[in-house]
């Protein structure tokens, strides 16, 4: 037991250091990580198929004992989390990262639908072990749950029907804008477009329905979610202009679970460094937007600091 | 006392050619496969008081209800005052306004006062003005013996009182004919008399009446003619004395026998 604990502590510390190293030392990225990997290779880097076993008292251990990790995801927000009607599978960028976490524990992932206003309750009551549901890190949420480092940075944008005539945030005055109940856009829109009429619904798929049938003039949320809508319906377009907000997505977990946070951040770091992040990005976003994006380098703390400042 | 006078009056008014008011010719009626009236021929004259007698199921209530169209006839013809009964809608309503009916279950309108029960139809069907209708209601209530009950509700009255109100209600329309469908069968014995008294009085005043009843005492003393039905046919008809003492048909005699020994 004691020796196990010691090994785990070492592993976690090394991973944390490696993670910190990656964050602060862009140029030396390759060097630092490879050194860390080599140093802890016997325990940190699992051999293909064999995941590390964690102590039963840790969250990781409990998940392993169960044999499955419950991950809350979106079911209707392509390309991050959605149910593919062809094969009935849940797929997306969030899901791919979820799989990486599950693999690192050697368990199978089980997905539950976590719509915006369920996400935090699900973590608190244990319905989900982890939330990967396009959830933005912000100061209010951090009071309720814990977050991993950001795994994606989205930008807040506005969607309208082509020819809708809205230019920029100010153009929303007097128009109806749809967004999800419980999302950060409620506050954002109230601040940035106080004269707009907000229509709050459960899910973004409902927003899509409403803008398609003309019941609302615009939808506002993360650009990647809006892109997902444009992919489905090319009569829609993004409103030109600056992004409303920066939305760093983080994985949600129980507040105060330091060991689990460090474990997840370790998985994230590996995911970014060994190219899986880039593959996922290309697969789910890059091929549609034609854009390229680098994996986020910010940490939870830096993101919170930036928002406060 | 009154009965004797009735017979005298009748005798003095006896007119072999008494104007026919109700005429049934070959009337048939069936409920599904069950034939209830077979080839009924009957003429009732103005001013006549007829009692229709028979055992349960003999068709007597059905025949009565055919007269004001509550039941439709399948064959034959039925006229009241020369007007055919097999009409519908407003025509039928207009015909019914001239025929009064009193039911076994009284059927007073429970959500209205006694006075309103009586004035409703005259006001709304005949267009009588309120004052006149209320005056008439007062008179009729006096005639049936319960003038003090005008503002009571039916639920406050005894069965006998309710039935008397029902008679007043029917009379308020000034009908040319009154139909009674077992008017005392739902009453406690002590209340039967008060209702029969009203009916007797009515007959004596010359109202044309057709009464389906089991009250053979009334039949014997008041009516002009008894019509005896059995199995949907008129088996016998004639003056009451004859019916009760010397009925011609076997079935009628059997019936009378049972009643007398009851």
């Amino acid at each position: 037991m004691k020796s196990r604990w010691f090994t785990t502590a070492c592993t976690v510390t090394v991973l944390a250091l490696a993670g910190a190293g990656c964050g602060s030392d862009d140029g030396d990225d390759g060097g630092t990580t490879s050194a860390a990997s080599t140093g802890a290779s016997s325990t940190a880097a699992p051999a293909a198929g064999a995941a590390e076993k964690f102590p039963a008292s840790t969250t990781m251990g409990k998940i392993q004992a169960r044999g499955e990790i419950k991950i809350g995801v979106k079911y209707d927000v392509p390309p991050f989390g959605f149910k593919n009607p062809r094969n009935d599978q849940i797929e997306g960028f969030d899901i791919d990262f979820g799989k990486a976490v599950a693999d690192a524990l050697g368990v199978k992932p089980t997905y539950v639908e976590a719509i915006s206003d369920n996400r935090i309750p699900f973590i608190k009551d244990g319905t989900a072990d982890l939330i990967l549901s396009t959830m933005t890190i912000n100061a209010e949420r951090v009071k309720e749950i814990g977050f991993t480092n950001p795994y994606f940075i989205a930008k807040g944008r506005i969607l309208q029907k082509k020819g809708g005539g809205i230019t920029g945030v100010d153009g929303l005055a007097g128009k109806t804008v749809c967004t999800a109940l419980g999302s950060t856009y409620e506050e954002t829109l109230k601040k940035q477009a106080p004269k707009a009429k907000l229509q709050l619904v459960d899910t973004y798929s409902e927003c899509l329905e409403l803008i398609q049938n003309g019941a609302v003039d615009a939808v506002s949320t993360d650009d990647v979610i809006l892109t997902g809508m444009i992919i489905q319906d090319d009569s829609l377009e993004l409103v030109e202009g600056e992004a409303l907000t920066t939305e760093p997505y983080g994985g949600g977990l129980k507040k105060g679970d330091t060991a689990y946070t460090e474990f997840l951040n370790g998985v994230l770091d590996k995911y970014k460094s060994d190219g899986r992040w880039a593959t996922a990005y290309e697969k789910w976003l890059g091929q549609y937007t034609g854009e390229k994006q680098e994996p986020p380098t910010e940490t939870l703390d830096s993101v919170l600091a930036a928002a406060a400042g | 006392m009154l009965y004797g006078r009735r017979i005298e009056l009748k005798k003095s008014l006896t007119d072999p050619e008494r104007t026919p008011l109700i005429e049934l010719r070959g009337v048939t009626k069936a409920f599904g496969d069950n034939v209830v009236l077979r080839d009924i021929d009957l003429t009732i004259g103005t001013g006549e008081a007829i009692v229709v007698a028979g055992i349960s199921g003999s068709g007597k209530s059905t025949m009565l209800r055919c007269i004001n169209g509550l039941e439709t006839i399948d064959g034959g013809s039925l006229t009241v005052g020369g007007r055919r009964v097999d009409v519908t809608g407003k025509e039928l309503a207009s015909l019914r306004a001239d025929i009064g009916m009193v039911f076994q279950q009284f059927n007073l309108f429970p959500h209205m006062t006694v006075e309103r029960n009586i004035t409703l139809a005259p006001m709304k069907v005949k267009g009588v003005d309120e004052k006149a209708a209320k005056q008439r209601a007062k008179e009729l209530l006096e005639r049936v013996g319960i003038p003090e009950k005008a503002s009571a509700y039916p639920a406050d009255l005894s069965g006998g009182q309710q039935q008397r109100v029902a008679i007043a209600r029917a009379l308020a329309m000034d009908p040319q004919l009154m139909l009674f469908d077992e008017p005392t069968s739902a009453l406690d014995p002590e209340m039967i008399r008060e209702v029969l008294d009203v009916m007797r009085d009515l007959a004596n005043s010359g109202m044309t009446m057709v009464v389906v009843t089991h009250e053979m005492g009334f039949a014997r003393e008041v009516c002009d003619r008894i019509v005896f039905l059995d199995g949907g046919e008129i088996v016998e008809e004639g003056p009451p004395e004859e019916f009760f003492t010397a009925a011609r048909s076997a079935r009628a005699r059997e019936f009378v026998d049972k009643i007398i020994h009851h």
Binding site: S116, D117, I120, P121, E140, K143, E144, L181, G182, E186, Q199, L200, V201, D202, E206, E209, L210, Q212, N213, G214, A215 | N68, L70, G89, K90, A93, S94, R96, A97, D98, I99, G100, M101, F103, Q105, N107, L108, F109, P110, H111, L120, A121, K124, V125, K126, Y153, A155, A166, R169, A170, M173
Partner: protein, 217 residues
Amino acid sequence: MFELFSDNSDQFLSGLWVTTRLVAASFLVAVVLGTLIAALRVAPNKWVNRAGGVYVEIFRDTPLLVLLFIAYPGLRRSGVEIGAWTAGIAALGVYTSAYVAEVLRSGVFAVARGQAEAGLSLGFTQPQVMRRIVLPQAARTVIGPLGSITIAMIKNSAIVGASIVALPDLLKEARIVNSNTFQTEESFLWAAVGYLLLTITVTIIFRSLESRYAVRR
């Protein structure tokens, strides 16, 4: 606990007001439509009768949520410029009208046939008998069941707000407060209090109507 309410009283009260308006408007629609359909159901004509029966079957057997989808996104996609309020009131009103129609129909049939016969014998036409004699009596027997239907409608109104029609009703406001404050139990407890206020008021109103208009037999 009470702080949550006082801090967010604007939202809770605005939601309560929306729910009240939604229920009141839908109630009117339900009663008017329900009476029309009940009239069809008690008509002597077989086909008229059946038409009413089909209406009742359809709207009793279709979930309210489905009706909401048809009324709002469904109609809009077919080109009808229907707004959220209209769609919500229409769906909830039509849904409830099927139940109202059935209650009124049984009320009419509960009135003894003799009543109608007495009316007819006095020279009233069938419609007059309905209006003056049967319906007033039927109305008095249906007050109780109508009260229950109204309470069910208050509860169903929450579905309207939660659906894609998304009117900012009491439940919706509670969810917004919850998503801002994360005080889940308290937020929804206050919503429950609001709904209880409505249902208790309705119960009191209908009970007093019943006792006032009860027909003594």
